[in-house]
């Protein structure tokens, strides 16, 4: 579904991604782990068109997307749920969610989709008229996820969904992610909570200093000595 090939991305003169190749198949949950500064968010931003690669390509459903603008990529069915939420804080919860249905197709279905989001996160329905500024960190994360779902994505990219969530709530979010997969949404998951993430994902990649250094089935990675030492702190 998503094919990233030999991607090189720079910020000015400093190279953030080196020859990165990876694949996400339809219906999979694929995880990307790695230390801070490894280039994980850069990779997501390149896939979603916020950054453009110096060389290499990104294909989605067989189509080159690495030169497209972000809103066009979103229209094709890729959504990104950014790290640190990035909500519209001067707007209500309900309006934030609707902003996710920005593309014309999603806009037509927004009433239906928003009810689905409220079923996943009932507290957002209670808070729908409240300013997004007044939400707790965890509620804000729910809005960010809900906003992403409002675009009716085929591929959903999560950037650190555990950020600022209570342990139990993160377990619930992982259940939500599994539920999305059941509904046919493919998941690309960037996450620091390595153990729980690998337990949820089918396959995973490890990114270090801008390079993919390990890839494999999640269950194998959980047993991998290098992964255990560097990322699980064991």
């Amino acid at each position: 579904m998503l094919e990233v090939s030999n991607l090189n991305v720079f910020y000015g003169k400093s190279q953030a991604l080196r020859d990165v190749s990876l694949r996400v198949n339809e219906g999979e949950i694929v995880a990307l782990v790695g230390t801070n500064g490894a280039g994980k968010t850069t990779l997501l931003n390149t896939i979603s068109g916020l950054l453009h690669p110096a060389s290499g390509s990104v294909e989605f459903l067989g189509k080159r997307i690495d030169r497209l603008a972000p809103h066009k990529i979103m229209k094709l069915g890729i959504c990104q749920i950014p790290e640190g939420r990035k909500l519209f804080t001067d707007m209500t919860v309900g309006d934030n969610l609707e902003m996710g249905a920005y593309t014309s197709e999603a806009w037509k279905q927004r009433k239906e989709t928003i009810e689905q989001v409220y079923r996943v996160f009932p507290v957002l329905k209670e808070r729908r008229k409240q300013s997004a500024k007044k939400l707790s960190g965890g509620e804000g994360q729910m809005v960010a996820i809900g906003r992403g779902l409002m675009s009716n994505p085929r591929l959903c990219m999560f950037d650190e969904p555990s950020y600022g969530l209570a342990p139990k709530l993160f377990s619930e979010v992982l259940e939500v992610i599994k539920g999305l997969r059941e509904q046919g949404i493919t998941i690309f998951l960037v996450e620091q909570n390595v153990r729980q993430t690998l337990t949820t994902a089918d396959r995973a990649y490890v990114l270090e200093n801008g390079r993919i250094i390990i890839e494999g089935k999640s269950e194998d990675l959980l047993q991998d000595k290098q992964v255990k030492k560097a990322y699980l702190g064991l």
Partner: protein, 245 residues
Amino acid sequence: MPILEGQGVNKYFGGLAAVSNVDFHVDQGEIVGLIGPNGAGKTTLFNLISAALPVSSGEIRFKGQKLNGLKPHQICQMGVSRTFQETKVFGNMPVFQNALVGAFFGTPTHISGTDAAREAGQALEFVGLSAMSATPIQDLTLVNQKRVEVARALATKPELLLLDELMAGLNPAEVSEAMELVTRIRDKGITIFMVEHVMKAIMGICGRVMAFHHGEKIAEGTPREIAANKKVIEIYLGEETRAGS
């Protein structure tokens, strides 16, 4: 003796009690953890202590002195400093200048430019960010921006440091490093009160933990006692996390 204590602290947002009749204390030299579900009122309590928000009723005292009615900068100058869950850095300044702001404005007495620069430099070195002094802060990762907030807070020469989710977004190996950093801060003689969801950190470095739910303190004890508390498991940890940790 408590360095910080609160009695009957309440905070209402309209009809919602965000913090509800909470008594608490933090003793000199302790590392105290504050946990609870999202929306439990943890950050609100920090906002009340640092006067980012006024209390609705109740009293908060630092070293015996009432904080009610003081302004945030006055509380900082008294020796209470903090970091923020959603980083609040000076986005158009380099890393060094961010720490410098702490050194200049966080202490009650006048400080010379040379001294402030030295304090800021030392604080950045302490958190391990000296090499990034000249980097525009918006070019740093969220995690490093939080470390700059720690440096800025340290540059104000605090006696009590409030850390709001310092470990968020760190992988387990990085959590260990951050735990070591917090312990080093405490060993400098700075008391720590920290809101944290990363249980590895709570279990590893806190001497005492309080758990909040719906604005109320529902449990308090050693990390071990809290992790075994049925109510805390039910509302906060969940069975899975408990099994995994």
